[in-house]
Symmetry: C2
Subunit: 254 residues, 2 copies
């Protein structure tokens, strides 16, 4: 159907793509690395607001975020958008399209980003020669399912502040894994996008932020967040709101 208008693609090595360490940490032989290099020979830049793919586009490749930040969302019949995920460097996008050979969600860059493109048929071919690579790919797909389950638990049962705490902790973890601070980071999504992901209205998100700040758990300054006490926040994300009292009167926040 539609074709991805992003161009031009430029060749680069597997190393400069940053792919190996981030996404395919399997023990490979020297010649296997070369094979792998030939696999991931495309990348492109996408600027803030640009689409990596749109629902309805033909599926050709899966993508790995090299730098930047993406959101994926599906569009309801009535025009409402449901954010299905936020995506950081090292994460794979487009896996949902394998089932029908057509993308079923939209992927848009929330800041200027770079992505690696992996033609999927090439991945399957090379996977035949490098079983550990194929197996690692299966793990990545499976992890996506686990993440979705976590989102379902969040949406199915949690209260507003639990949802927000859970998201903040999740982002915190992922920033930490990338070597960034786990307690200080910038949200590059709007309150509305956060709300869509959490199944809440933007006003509710804003109030939840305010409340967490009032309780001394976080500090927010529009887009920048500081987590004052991650372990207390974890309690909160599990519904233990009664510990709040202790927090308010509690010891200094580090």
């Amino acid at each position: 159907m539609l074709q991805n208008p992003n161009l031009p693609h430029r060749k680069t090595s597997c190393f400069s793509c940053g792919l190996r360490e981030l996404c395919l940490p399997v023990g490979l032989e020297e010649d296997e690395i070369n094979t792998l290099d030939s696999l991931i020979n495309l990348w492109c830049k996408i600027r803030r607001g640009g689409y990596l793919y749109r629902a309805g586009m033909d599926f050709q490749s899966i993508y790995i975020v090299r730098s930047g930040f993406f959101k994926t969302y599906v569009l309801h019949e009535d025009g409402r958008e449901q954010v299905t995920g936020f995506h950081m460097p090292g994460e794979m996008l487009g896996l949902e399209a394998i089932s029908t050979d057509v993308h079923t969600c939209h992927a848009v860059a929330l800041e200027n980003s770079e992505i690696c493109e992996i033609p999927f048929t090439r991945l399957e071919e090379i996977g035949r020669d490098i079983p550990s690579l194929m197996h690692h790919f299966h793990k990545i797909m499976s992890r996506k399912i686990v993440h979705n389950h976590e989102a379902i638990v969040l949406l199915g049962g949690m209260k507003a502040r639990e949802r927000l705490s859970t998201l903040l902790l999740n982002l915190s973890d992922r920033f930490a894994k990338l070597g960034y601070s786990s307690s200080n980071f910038n949200l590059c999504m709007t309150r509305e996008e956060i709300g869509s992901y959490l199944g809440l209205k933007l006003e509710t998100v804003s109030r939840a932020f305010s409340r967490l700040q009032k309780d001394g758990l976080i500090k927010i300054n529009s887009k920048s967040v500081q987590l004052n006490n991650i372990s207390w926040l974890k309690q909160r994300s599990r519904g233990n709101f009664h510990v709040t009292e202790k927090i308010v009167e509690g010891a200094e926040l580090q």
Copy 2:
């Protein structure tokens, strides 16, 4: 960690497993079918209430429902259970465990069931020799992700009656694909389990059922459901509640 206590396993052929048509509809050569037969040589019966696997158990195999009905759920810290899916014959279970080699959710039979077991390492091995089989497996995993997205859309934005309508239509579709009636079927799950899946309390589910019945869209008799007008129900599942009026006064229900 834990081991699956289900036993004994018995050998059977691929044909009797019913696997070929349901789950792996790929064009295979004769010798490939034999290879495949050697892959799927285990099955077992699980009676109503029995567990196929539990969270924490080692991952060895993926499973295909041969007959019966399963639910999968994850357990929250506070003991709340979140149903993540209902599973009918032909559907694959256990995919979420590939990522960590440990199951992260529970799978329990809602009625007496039979399942096929596929040792996952064998599947990966044989997939190397039969690329179309491997590719089909990737499609199945991908479809799981799409289904999860659908659940996320449901939980993230829909009203109670939209959610229930969506579930009923989804079950209807899946029964139809199995050759059963799309308008008359039995729910083998409780209102509480439905509620957990839909992110609602059981009372709300019950009221939603009653309301859909009052509006003439369905007929319920405890566990048995009759969908009177699927296209109107589809409108409902998309939030068009105003068509209700027409339905109530509307023409005869077929």
